[in-house]
């Protein structure tokens, strides 16, 4: 019970110390948050917010009677005005080419699209070509490319159909009625498929944002999750050492010696101090996982797997902290030792390269020479949604290393205060 009193007293002191709170919770969340916002939401929840491109269309197409009412220019306009492109394009019609150009010059439109008079004819007649002209504001970068791609896709469809029909008609010696038939079939398909997202068919142009929870979102969440867990591991190891340092701070302040004058066995006093390390890490890691899960939408994995890797992380970080501080003589040494050792082992353990693609494979081996590397490995497996059996190795290594570090640290501390 006295060990708990000592641990709770230390926790109370930690929570009254701004520096500790920053290192426990603030720094890991802040660093991950900065990365999260700097790269425009890695989880896919924060899409690039593009302003709709203002397009003035001058439809000069004169379909005539040859197409049996088929008007390719009209179809292109309808395609550009479709609801699916509503977020991308703001399409208005101009009376003629000059009016459309004038709108661009006066910056009332970003792009002027001139559909030529022989657009339908070119769509239907094999070998005939025409040109859709696009005038654009030269200061724009993204908008013109989007419109160009959309129009090209529309026209390519006709071109492909025409080539196929041309080949077929020559083979069948059946004249251009087949080509016309094919073009009209394509047009009908394009029209129907372009408006049929709700029916479940594949759209000709998929311009929708990635759906939350989709593959892209999962990859993003996994990336931010890897960064967040790397930060959590780094700062958990830091707090493990920092809370173990409280033994040295109490020794220097005289309160540890005073504790030894109370009717409390030395083993319980040191046990209480070690319990402080474990409890501090439990609070820190649980809060960080919950807070970052809510803030960044990270799915940490299967609950039981997460519990296991959390336990492994806490034990190994606590053991490492106790071991590290057992070599330190006074608080003047703790800063350089903690900064140097934890940064170096964290780097070798791969904490600062998590989420970075195309890292040399050799680093995967190197990182497993460090306890942080095993923690990272275990958490990566958890983030990938693996089950308990898949994380048993890293969790076992973490628990084993933690116990070993802890045992050596305890022996050295007890020797010091014997």
């Amino acid at each position: 019970m006295k060990a708990l009193h000592i641990a709770f007293k230390d926790l109370l002191r930690f929570f009254k110390t701004p520096f500790v709170l920053i290192m426990m919770f603030g720094a890991p969340l802040l660093i991950t948050g900065l990365l999260y916002f700097a790269f425009g939401s890695l989880t896919g929840g924060g899409d690039l917010d593009l302003q709709a491109v203002r397009v003035q269309v001058a439809n000069l197409d004169q379909p005539g009677a040859q197409g049996d009412g088929f008007a390719a220019g009209e179809m292109l306009v309808e395609f550009l005005q479709s609801e699916d492109l509503g977020d991308l394009l703001e399409v208005t019609l101009a009376g003629d080419e000059a009016a459309a150009r004038q709108a661009v010059q006066e910056q009332q439109a970003d792009i002027a699209l001139i559909i030529p008079p022989d657009f339908t004819a070119a769509a239907l007649a094999p070998g005939r070509e025409t040109t859709v002209v696009q005038y654009e504001d030269p200061t724009l970068t993204i908008g013109p490319g989007i419109v160009e791609d959309l129009v090209s896709q529309f026209i390519d469809g006709f071109s492909g159909a025409k080539i196929a029909a041309d080949v077929a008609s020559r083979q069948l010696e059946a004249g251009d009625s087949v080509a016309r038939e094919a073009a009209m079939e394509y047009a009908a398909w394009l029209e129907s498929s372009g408006h049929d997202h709700e029916g479940g068919t594949t759209s000709a142009l998929n311009t929708r944002s990635p759906a939350p929870g989709g593959e892209s979102a999962a990859e993003g969440a996994s990336t931010i999750g890897a960064i967040m867990i790397a930060m959590t591991i780094f700062f958990a190891f830091f707090m493990g050492a920092n809370s173990a340092e409280s033994i040295i701070r109490e020794d220097e302040a005289g309160t540890l010696e005073r504790l030894f004058t109370t009717p409390t066995p030395q083993a319980i006093i040191l046990g209480g101090k070690f319990l402080t390390v474990v409890l501090t890490l439990v609070v820190q890691v649980v809060v960080l996982l919950l807070a970052s899960g809510l803030a960044f939408g990270i799915n940490w994995g299967q609950p039981l797997t997460v519990v296991l890797v959390t336990a492994g992380l806490i034990v190994v970080a606590a053991g490492f902290g106790v071991l590290l501080m057992s070599f330190v003589k006074n608080t003047r040494q703790t800063g350089p030792v903690m900064g140097g050792v934890l940064t170096l082992t964290g780097m070798l353990g791969g904490l600062f390269t998590s989420g970075v693609p195309n890292m040399p494979e050799a680093l995967d081996t190197v990182r497993l020479t460090m306890p942080q590397g095993w923690a990272m490995y275990g958490w990566e497996l958890a983030l990938q949604g693996n089950g308990v059996s898949d994380v048993l190795l890293p969790v076992g290594v973490m628990l084993g290393l933690g116990a070993l570090f802890f045992a050596v640290g305890v022996v050295l501390f007890r020797k010091r205060f014997a």
């Binding site: 109370l12 010696e257 004058t261």
Partner: protein, 313 residues
């Protein structure tokens, strides 16, 4: 009131080649204030640390309320309250939080704990500031809280290790009065100091320590008798003391001369008879006496007599 609260038998403590405590034996009676008086490095704190079970004796043993410090340390710790020389508090906690934590370490809980914390806050005069961070307290307030912690479990013996070092006269006065009050309430007090005045004012009995040994032990009057009726005379000269020491040692009635930082101290049978001869001799040696301080026989003189050095050398 005559039983032994503390009984130390031939206690030794070595740190490598350093013999910090060398065969200390003494007894402290229940209900008395007993002082260990000696200069820094005399071995007082080491002796206290062994009584508080912080250090294991190299040889010998001590019994506190009948319990051996070697074999029954937990029983010893339950009977004593230790006030360390340095302030040992949690500065980022309040006085109440500090007292509550330490009370738990002494095994108190529940209503008894809350009651004792309230009582101690009242005794040390920190009721109004009980919720403030200890970091914000004055030195005197911290000293009082430092003492208060040792009182939480109503110890039979209060051990104070130089509790007045580095504090202002008012706080010092307050601490001495508090110690006397605890003693009046029946608490046995073991007090270490290198201030002769404190030992003289507080103590029923005093042990003078030097270089790890008890060199004298008894009541104030018994100790003073060691130097007989000798007066201690401190003089300041305008020239090196060596110019007069040989001549003064030849003067009848002068017994012992020591020098320290330009001040010359001597023991004399009767200072009124000796002083004119000292002035005459100084004139003959072309030395001026710039100040004279005469002290009736006291513990300082005892220490000087026994060691040939001043207590604060």
């Amino acid at each position: 009131m005559n039983s032994k609260a503390i009984e130390i038998q031939d206690l030794h403590k070595d740190f490598g080649d350093i013999h910090a405590v060398q065969g200390v034996s003494l007894e402290v009676q229940t209900g008395e204030i007993f002082s260990l008086l000696g200069p820094n490095g005399a071995g007082k704190s080491t002796t206290i640390s062994m009584l508080a079970c912080l250090l294991e004796p190299t040889a010998g043993d001590a019994r506190v309320m009948g319990h051996s410090v070697q074999r029954e340390p937990m029983a010893v710790k339950r009977t004593i309250g230790v006030v360390p020389q340095e302030i040992a508090l949690y500065g980022d906690l309040s006085a109440r939080e500090n007292l509550t934590f330490w009370a738990k370490m002494y095994g108190l809980s529940g209503a008894e704990l809350a009651q004792r914390v309230d009582e101690v806050l009242d005794v040390i005069g920190l009721v109004d500031r009980q919720k403030g961070r200890v970091d914000t307290y004055s030195g005197g307030m911290k000293r009082r809280l430092n003492i208060g912690i040792a009182l939480l479990h109503r110890p039979q013996i209060l051990i104070l290790d130089e509790p007045t070092v580095g504090i202002d006269p008012q706080s010092r006065r307050n601490i001495l009065d508090t110690v006397k009050e605890f003693n009046r309430q029946g608490m046995t007090v073991l007090y270490t100091t290198h201030y002769m005045e404190e030992a003289q004012e507080l103590s029923d009995r005093i042990a003078i320590m030097d270089q790890g040994r008890i060199i004298a032990n008894g009541s104030h009057d018994e100790l003073v008798k060691i130097v007989g009726e000798l007066d201690r005379v401190d003089l300041t000269l305008n020239a090196p003391a060596e110019r007069v020491t040989a001549a003064w040692q030849a003067i009848e009635g002068v017994h012992q001369i020591t020098t320290n930082n330009g001040t010359l101290a001597l023991l004399a049978d009767d200072s009124n008879q000796v002083l004119p001869r000292l002035f005459e001799s100084a004139n003959q040696n072309h030395v001026r006496i710039t100040s004279v301080d005469i002290q009736e026989p006291n513990l300082e003189a005892v220490f000087l007599h026994l060691t040939g050095r001043a207590l604060r050398d």
